[in-house]
């Protein structure tokens, strides 16, 4: 089924939208979640949360690219789960646990100011990535957005793993210099 048709089902509040989403994108979303969480159980939780968030988001959202829309939700949710698990493992820090619990209580997480900062930072990163060759940009995003393993990026890009490492090393430095030049507090 076409993405636009699936989105239309969401807008009609037709629950089959989730079924079709699951059929089309479950593997893709599980891959993103597994890259971050390395746990099938946690990844399934993340993907299920994604379906729920998609249901709550459409409407009002009507994404042009459903895969990217869902992928971003899964990535964000997986990072949240990772941080929660990670903080629970930190022994002897009641402060951290309490802070995380309170953070979870606040709907939406970041404040408007923080959201603005993140969006500005995201825009600057986009600008930097547009300034570098496409292949290097794709390697960077595969690694830091999709968090794909180096070996996998190597197979997809046709570059050696060491070349991938080299590109990532250079682009991290390049990004740091660019953000610094743009006035971000690095």
């Amino acid at each position: 089924m076409e993405d636009s048709a699936i989105v239309a089902l969401y807008w009609e509040r037709n629950e089959s939208a989730i079924t079709y989403t699951q059929e089309k994108y479950s593997r893709y979303l599980m891959k993103i979640a597994m890259n971050i969480l390395m746990s099938e159980e946690d990844s399934e939780e993340s993907v299920n949360d994604t379906y729920l968030k998609a249901w709550e988001s459409m409407p009002p959202h009507r994404p042009d690219r459903l895969s990217l829309f869902l992928g971003k939700i899964t990535r964000e949710r997986s990072i949240d789960i990772y941080r929660r698990k990670h903080s629970l493992k930190r022994a002897g820090s009641a402060y951290s646990v309490c802070l995380d619990e309170l953070s979870e209580m606040l709907e939406g997480g970041a404040s408007p100011e923080e959201m603005y900062d993140l969006k500005e930072l995201g825009r600057a990163i986009s600008d930097y990535l547009r300034s570098i060759p496409e292949k290097r940009r794709n390697v960077f995003l595969c690694r830091y957005f999709y968090m794909d393993p180096l070996q996998e990026i190597s197979e997809k890009s046709g570059l050696t793993v060491q070349n991938i490492k080299s590109i990532l090393f250079r682009e991290r430095k390049g990004l740091k210099a660019y953000l610094s030049k743009e006035g971000f507090d690095i």
């Binding site: 292949k135 595969c142 080299s166």
Partner: protein
């Protein structure tokens, strides 16, 4: 700012960029994902005519300089005691047979197939580390390791002699192709691979400390004893300089070579030469065997991330040639 914030900010990356990356993940750009060596092989075959022409031009230049300027080109001629002009006057066929073993050359088609892997060279964007690695591991970067590969190409070739030398061009093209088969610009991927593993490991606080150190400066070194004097000597730097430069560059420092003046600002190499300033993005490293069978390691600054065998050979033979888009750092 910390990595966590950057990770969150990546949520707001523009969708079109993510879509491109997703296409690569899906394997949609299949044409781009064939093996690198495969691409190089196809590129080499496609460029074969140009490569032959470049090789011919290189040998034409060498011949012309030999008998026009009487420049002592290398230990081979010196040892044999053959005057350059006399040798240059010999028929091209004889020269080709003697120097390049034309009669043993494989058919051109076979050459293309077999020579292709030899074209595979180390190429990296910030590969100055390569030199350090090579020097540290194998000791192949040694001062005065070779001779006869650095020529002064700035001198004009008189028209009459150039026309005379043109006679050799066609014949020398085949000789050059035959020589190309045997002469090797060999792959250096493995050291590069190890090198970048090390480079990645260095991206720690220690590396950060190194970055804060004063920019390294390296004194120019004179000619090594026994090394033949050539016009381009003044423009080249010693192996020690290259090694020091590479080590400094690999640690992220801005490095300055006194001769030639090279600066590395983290993304590009800037060279002062011929009273001008040139900027290059890549440092191509290649193992190169000259006509006398002497092995060299060449470091070529270039805007190309890879070079064909002939381009590397041309760079190796011509030395500094900033106007042509590359510059040779060392033999």
């Amino acid at each position: 700012m910390n990595g966590s914030k950057l990770m969150d900010a990546l949520q707001y990356i523009d969708d079109d960029l993510l879509e491109q990356a997703q296409k690569m993940r899906d394997g949609s750009t299949a044409d781009d994902t064939v093996s690198v060596n495969g691409n190089r092989r196809k590129t080499f075959v496609r460029r074969l005519p140009y490569i032959a022409a470049l090789a011919a031009a290189s040998f034409l230049a060498v011949f012309t300089l030999r008998f026009v300027n009487g420049i002592n080109m290398g230990s081979h001629d010196s040892a044999a005691g053959v005057p350059a002009a006399e040798q240059a006057a010999a028929p091209a066929e004889e020269y080709a047979a003697e120097e390049y073993a034309v009669e043993e050359a494989a058919p051109a088609g076979m050459m293309a197939e077999e020579a292709a892997p030899a074209v595979s060279m180390a190429k990296e964007e910030a590969p100055a580390e390569t030199a350090a690695r090579k020097a540290g591991e194998s000791g192949t970067v040694t001062a005065g390791a070779g001779s006869g590969v650095m020529y002064d190409m700035t001198e004009e070739i008189p028209d009459a002699e150039a026309a005379e030398a043109d006679m050799y061009t066609a014949q020398m093209a085949s000789a050059a192709a035959a020589a190309d088969e045997g002469a090797a610009v060999t792959a250096a991927e493995e050291p590069m691979a190890e090198l970048y593993a090390a480079a990645e490991a260095e991206e720690t606080e220690e590396a950060a400390e190194l970055e804060e150190a004063p920019a390294a400066s390296f004194a120019a070194a004179g000619n090594t004893a026994g090394q033949e004097t050539m016009a381009a000597d003044a423009e080249k730097s010693s192996a020690d300089e290259i090694r020091a430069f590479a080590e400094a560059a690999s640690s992220g420092q801005a490095a300055v070579l006194d001769q030639p003046h090279v600066r590395f600002d983290g993304s590009a190499y800037t060279v002062d030469a011929d009273g001008k300033e040139y900027s290059y993005r890549y440092l191509v490293t290649a193992a190169y065997t000259d006509k006398q069978g002497i092995s060299h390691t060449v470091y070529i600054l270039s805007d190309k991330d890879e070079m064909t065998e002939s381009e590397a050979r041309s760079a190796a033979e011509q030395g500094i040639s900033a106007e042509k888009g590359y510059i040779l750092l060392s033999e």
